[in-house]
Point group: C2
Amino acid sequence: VELDAAGLDALLARWPVARLATVTPRGRPHQVPIVFAAQGGRLYSPVDGKRKAGGEPARLRNVAATGRASVLLDHYDDDWSALWWVRLDGIAWVERADVALLDRVAERLLAKYHQYQSLPVYAGEPALLVLRWERVTAWSQSGGPEPILRAAGRP
Amino acid sequence: VELDAAGLDALLARWPVARLATVTPRGRPHQVPIVFAAQGGRLYSPVDGKRKAGGEPARLRNVAATGRASVLLDHYDDDWSALWWVRLDGIAWVERADVALLDRVAERLLAKYHQYQSLPVYAGEPALLVLRWERVTAWSQSGGPEPILRAAGRP
């Protein structure tokens, strides 16, 4: 399926959830659901910086070790003709130092998720997982971009 | 979150979609949505055996090369207090030869998904991706298993 850049941008602005896959330093797959904002070919996901019993969250360790991530947006439907997914694969890293970027992304997250009106975007030490995607793969059961564009609010 | 074996079995029997993460031979993350059936500590996902332009599906190549997979079930909700996810990590392989197993899993998939009443479970050469999970990780925003058990139909 061909998904144009405007369609992808609209989907990323509207679709609330994705799954982040990374690879551990031992080479094993790891995944977790994420919320995110996107701008200028980069996807940003805030990381809860509260120290866990096990130290830093696995996705941060994984990205620091491998420099890669994959983000999957998809729709499941009882009507299988409506199924679609979009996957972004590319370079990933953790951003903690660029305060202007952290602030800008926090604003975008606040605009996208009303839930952040009563929650801090960054709990503990602010951190963003950043994906600069190199490849976009889109699939739909119907073979066309229409169900993805509808999900993106572009009829 | 502690999720008992009966709760996990009930969730796997009822929840229709998951995301499969694998690692490519080059060490990069890969993921795709899947349907599945589970029994006896193993999760089975049918693979469309139709030959693609690029040859075998990436998840089969990845599992053959690395022997590992991760499967994530999760629920997104506008009410973030209802969020939960369950992840199964373990050993994975591709099963093509065990016809009795392929048939048994096809029956379970037919019982779980009415959509297979009008679709073949195995298109082309029958194949199953099998995950024997070694680790179950469960998380809920509320900190308890209740939202997961509700999704599993166990009030």
